[in-house]
Every structure is written in structure tokens, then in C-alpha cells.
Symmetry: none
Subunit: 410 residues, 2 copies
């Protein structure tokens, strides 16, 4: 089985503030082919040092992936360093320059002269088109090793790797079968979940089980590696089935879909719509729901009533209600549902901190309301953490309440 | 000035779930001495590969720091690999073994036989005591280079580095000062910005200039390294001043604050408030504004009118207006401002994709409106990219329009 090394380029990745996350994505993709990553390096914008690093990597690993340093400026040294490391020239490709010029024209702009640098490929390299940016990637073969140059911005790198590199690797790498099952769970703490399912997963060395937690959202990854696809699938079904039994409807997704997708699919299935009234999450819930392509089929919109006056003015809630209270959440959910003519209304009110004034609700106190034609129910929760974490927990809680509400109704 | 390389050891750091964070702490400490980190590597528990990596690092860098792989088990390979890399033997130190035995006795346990491995030092190494764990560190000098072996657990590594290594480094490293200036710019492409400021920053090797771009948000980092703090500050003022002149009011922040903080400060300063009406960004703009603690002082709220019907019902815009049009943006900004009683109203309408139906606006077409007491102005833009990117660009554009609008008004 071939090994891989990953080299990230950029002086900004050597500061105390930044980590390289592209390599996590690349590792996951490579692992899915059965390829292990044996070394990762981060090198600054220094041509000689990078050339030295590439030179060593190519001698000891079959697959060498570089990310970053393909931009148009002086400090983008990857093209030069790779050419130097493997003793080839850089070749100018007028057809790439022309494509770049067209891209700029589409934005009604003239291409800056320095972008011509991006039309240079290492001699013999295959060009990897970039749908999402100006820097083309490169695929180079050298003494049986594959050297892959990818742009640094994650959304460009991901698309290019998945569309251009994975098919090439799949054809070249001997087939192993790795199957992954991802169960996603809301409304449990990581340690509660682990205590619940550890008796099952500890019985198995294969699949490998990993539990990842993030603000009210837990992912259980089961990774089976077998010599046939049927074996891997059967093994996942055996272990996944036992975990499923223990967690029940706390599992919201069995295919790694996030909660906003699961809720969207439920709403579409039942020809229902939703509208939201948020205060403390400030638009974050609407943002999550509407981030999904096609969400206009079921998402009508929302109001962000960030002050109590706005709750009164926009939603007509009684002025004697406390801003953060059960009554307020109930009134907001009911009002936004009626006002927008939606099947469901969701409301969020609470205090995300960082402070609570005299008479305010304590930091982390949250009320979430869900209204439908038969009335509104409200759930209360007290979250710990800083402002972004409390906001994230609350959005997750609201979406999960809606999911359970819809599932119970049908 | 000496340079440093950091090598993290551990196969678990090569999985898709884990990043090495020890190196961020070490980088911050080293930077405070004026020492730059030029390369970071992560190597699995593989003795030969690690020895190769150390061998190369020692030849090119003055300071080489290794973290992890000092435990008692078979896969703790750091001691052996370093000895192999620099051609020395490992030497057993009975006094270290005795200390380890005492440590176990304090926990009422007998030391497992394998822990004796932790009593081996590279020949000639100075032992670095570990207050928080069993693995002692090592300080090795080789041909003028310093090789530092630290344990992997962050709380052990941090304490050992701060107490044992920093004092040694401070005595040996000539004193230097590093100051950083971060300028943030909106509304320019990375290449336009680089063409504009390269003539200035290319004249200087010190400070080092790095340009980072992310969806309509560009950061210019200037890092000065001088022998006194006053010199560093003066140098940044000299170079920063010239760049400032070229970019003018396209610079929105000179202290690394993000745009939502800058806009918030402007609104507070002028005792003004803002309300937003979004369609295509679906709450993302409100979410960004309200993510800032204390934003309730100036953010009244917003509406997310995700369908045209909602634009009509909530904002009372004329039904004959196209959903994505200049008139619509103007009407939405005016209406939300009046409805919420805000100083400023911002509106966003556009098509974030992924598709445009017959008669729809093309993907990436965006109108942003800003209304105040004297009326509303609208800006139009055509963005390229996928749905999240178009949404991010648009939010940035809207905040920057508001910033310029407020700055011009006073």
C-alpha cells in the first residue's frame, strides 16, 4: 500500500495563531483509499527549504501532496521549489493564461499582470483545473512517485482534490475496502454518550470507533477495513445496529448529514414550512437553515428581534412579558408562525452573555419554543460556556426540538 | 538570530481528527525571544523516519525541539531516534530510575519494569526534570545546535519549557523584539491589493509582509524584528504609513479587529443603531453583527425575508418589484429602517445559487442597500464561487458599505 506525505506551504501557518487544517481533510480522503499519512510538514515561503523538503519526501513516499503557495505573488514559491527539487524547468502555458484572463473578464476586471505566473507548470505536469479560484493545480509523476500541487484556500483545495485527484488515485491505488458509518447525535453530552456505547465498541478492534463532540453535536465514526466491501458493510451493520439500539431517536442522522439537512428533508417530505423568531442567536438559526441549497422550498424567513421593543413591534407580544422567559418564547413562536403563514414557528430567547445585568436572566439561560396549529411548547435549558458556544448549543437544540416535534407528529 | 524547527512525534497526530497544538505554544514562546519557527513536522512512531527528520533539522537549524515519544512503551521512539540521528549512544542513569521509583511509591504503586526506559539519556544530554509526569526531558548540544526533547502531554510540555528551557534560551539568544501590525482591507481582490502595495513592501526585508485573503476580507501582516522595541515600532510606522497612504479608506482596521467590530464601534461612537433585511444571506449578516458582545447597544434586529411573499408581507415592498433588483434592495433598506426605527437600514437581495431558474437573477448577482434619513443607496455586484462563498462575500460587502457610509456622514 503506498504511503503519503503532506506539505503545507505558507509563513502564516508558522505563527502561533494558525493551524493547517487542509491536511485533516486530505488525511481523511487518503485513509478512505487505505493510504496512510506518514509525515506532515509545514514550511514557510522559503524556496530552498521547501525544495529540500520536497526532495526528501519524493525519495521516501509514493504520494507527496503540497498545499498552498500557488498564488500570483512573489512569496508564492511552490511552483519554483518543486521544479528545483526534481530538476525540471517551469513551462509557460498560454492557454492557461487565456483562461485566467477570461475568468477576470467575467468579473468585469482586467487580469493583473502578475497573475501570468499562475500559467507556469512544472515541465511534464498535468494541469488540474480550479473551478473556484485562479490557481490551477498540478499532477506530476517522478520515478513512480506522484507529486500533487493544490491551492491553499480550503474550498478550492477540497473541490480540486475530490474531483481531480481522488479519481486518479482510485485508479492507481490497490483496492482495500474501508467503509465508514457516521452516526450523529444531538442533546447528549460526550461523556454520557461514551458511557452508553463504550460497552459495545470496546468489544471490537475493527471497526475503529472515534467519538467527536462539538457544541451539542456528537459524531460517532465507525471505520471498518476489510478485504471485501460485503465484509465491511456487514461488520458496520453488526456494530452500528447495537449502538443504534442504545441511542434510539437521539440519533438524528445515519449518513453524516448535519441537522439542518435532516430537518429540511423532514419538512419537504411533509410539505411543511418553517419560520423563525430569534433574539439571542441573532440570525444564526435562520443562517443555518438557509445555508442549505433549495431551502427556499420550506424556509419562509424569520425575524431577529434583538431588543424587547422589537419583539413587541414586530411580533406583537405582550409588553408585560419578560424578554427571557417561557411566556415570551411561547408568544414569539406562535406569532412568527401566524405572521408568516408557516406550518411551524420556532423561537429562541435567552442570554448568551458575556454578562447578565441586575434583573437579567443568568448567562446561558435559554428558552426555545416550537409552535404548530395545535399550540406552542417551550423547552428550557441552562448552557455553560462562552458566547459563541452558548449560541451554537442553542441553535442545535432548536433544530433538534423541531426534528423531534415533526417526527412525533406523523 | 537563530531559527527553530519543531518536530511533533505520534501516530495519533496523523489522523484526520487531531492537530498538533503544542507547536503553537512553543512558537509563541520562541517568537517572544525573537526566534522564528521555519519548519514544523509531524512524524509517526517510526524510528528511522524520525531519525532522518532530526538529522536534517540539526544541519539547518540552530534550535530543534521535539515533543512526544518519551513514554515507556515500545512505540516511544524519540530517545532512540535522536541518538541514531546524531551518532551517539543512550546511557542508563540509575539516579533517574530511582527518582521514577520514588514517584510511583508516592502514588502507592510499584514502578512497572518498562518505565526503566525513561532513565536513558542521549550521551552528553542534560536532564530536564518533569514535575508533572514520568518522562524527563533532555537538552543536547551538537555542533552548536540545541536539541530539546520534551514530553507530549501539553501540561507537562508547557511547564518544562517555561521553567527549564526558556531561561536557558534567554541566556543564549541575543535579545530581539518582534512587533506585528495587521491591516485589514475589504472590497479589493488579493491581486489588486498586492499590485498596489508590493512596490512599498518589496523595498523592505524587515518587516516581513504577508498577505492573507478570505472571501472579501484581506489581511496584510507586517512583522518587524529589531534589537529594541522602539526601533520595531518606528519601522512598522514607516512601512505601515506608506501602505496606509496607498490603500486609504479601504483599510477598515489597523489593529486586527474584524469588520463587525469596527462597524459596531462606529455605531456606538455616533449613538446610532442599525436594522437589517436579508434574503439571500438568510440571517448571516444579523448573525455576524450580533456575534459581538454588547451589540444590543446598536443592533435592533432584522428580518429574514427568504421568499418574495415575505418581502411584501413583512416589509410592504411593492409586489411588482423583481425579488432580486435594485428597486427591491432600495425598498427593503428603507422599509426595515422605518419599521424598526433605526438610524440605518441595510438590505441584501441576490442569488447565492447553486442554480438560477428561467427568469431568475444569475447566480452571484447581489444588490445591497443602505438607507438613512436622507434616502437609500444601492450597490450591485457579481460574485463568483459556490453558495457559502457568495454569501460570505456579500455579508462582507454589506458591512463595508455601512462602514463607509457612516464614515462619510460625519
Amino acid at each position: 500500500m503506498p504511503d503519503a506525505e503532506i506539505i503545507a506551504i505558507g509563513s502564516e501557518l508558522l505563527t502561533p495563531q494558525r493551524v493547517d487544517t487542509n491536511s485533516l481533510f486530505l488525511t481523511e480522503e487518503l485513509n478512505s483509499l487505505g493510504v496512510e499519512v506518514t509525515t506532515k510538514c509545514i514550511v514557510g515561503d522559503d524556496r530552498d527549504r521547501l525544495a529540500d523538503t520536497v526532495h526528501r519526501a519524493v525519495r521516501r513516499s509514493q504520494i507527496v501532496i503540497l498545499s498552498g503557495g500557488l498564488g500570483p505573488t512573489e512569496d508564492d514559491v511552490t511552483r519554483d521549489a518543486v521544479a528545483q527539487a526534481i530538476g525540471r524547468k517551469l513551462v509557460y502555458h498560454p492557454e492557461i493564461a487565456e483562461k485566467l484572463e477570461q475568468r477576470f473578464l467575467q468579473m468585469f476586471r482586467k487580469m493583473p499582470e502578475i497573475n501570468r505566473r499562475q500559467a507556469f507548470l512544472v515541465e511534464g505536469a498535468e494541469m488540474l483545473p480550479n473551478d473556484r479560484g485562479t490557481a490551477p493545480g498540478q499532477w506530476i509523476e517522478q520515478n513512480g512517485a506522484w507529486i500533487i500541487l493544490l491551492p491553499g484556500p480550503p474550498h478550492e483545495l477540497k473541490a480540486m482534490f475530490q474531483r481531480q485527484c481522488m479519481p486518479r488515485l482510485e485508479r492507481r491505488v490497490p483496492k482495500q475496502y474501508i467503509e465508514t458509518l457516521v452516526l450523529r447525535v444531538a442533546g447528549m453530552s460526550e461523556s454520557d454518550l461514551d458511557q452508553t456505547i463504550a460497552p459495545v465498541y470496546k468489544k471490537y478492534e475493527n471497526p475503529v470507533t472515534t467519538v467527536l463532540a462539538h457544541a451539542g453535536d456528537i459524531q460517532v465514526h465507525l471505520r471498518a477495513r476489510c478485504s471485501t466491501a460485503v465484509e465491511a458493510t456487514a461488520l458496520l451493520a453488526e456494530v452500528g445496529g447495537q449502538i443504534d439500539l442504545l441511542l434510539g431517536d437521539r440519533i438524528y442522522s445515519r449518513n453524516s448529514d448535519p441537522l439542518e439537512v435532516v430537518v429540511g428533508e423532514l419538512l419537504k417530505k411533509h410539505h411543511s414550512t418553517v419560520a423563525v423568531a430569534e433574539s439571542m442567536t441573532g440570525g444564526g438559526l435562520a443562517d443555518r437553515i438557509s445555508s442549505i441549497p433549495g431551502s427556499s422550498q420550506y424556509f419562509l424567513g424569520g425575524v431577529v428581534t434583538y431588543t424587547k421593543d422589537m419583539k413587541i413591534a414586530l411580533l406583537g407580544v405582550p409588553s408585560e412579558f419578560q424578554a427571557v422567559s417561557r411566556e415570551m418564547a411561547q408568544a414569539m413562536a406562535t406569532a412568527v408562525r401566524l405572521k408568516m403563514g408557516a406550518t411551524y414557528g420556532i423561537s429562541i430567547t435567552g442570554n448568551a452573555g458575556p454578562t447578565a445585568d441586575e434583573g437579567d436572566a443568568p448567562v446561558g439561560q435559554v428558552y426555545v419554543g416550537v409552535a404548530d396549529a395545535s399550540g406552542a411548547t417551550v423547552a428550557e435549558r441552562q448552557f455553560l460556556g462562552d458566547r459563541p458556544r452558548i449560541r451554537a448549543f442553542t441553535g442545535q437544540m432548536a433544530l433538534d426540538l423541531l426534528r423531534r416535534h415533526i417526527s412525533k407528529s406523523f
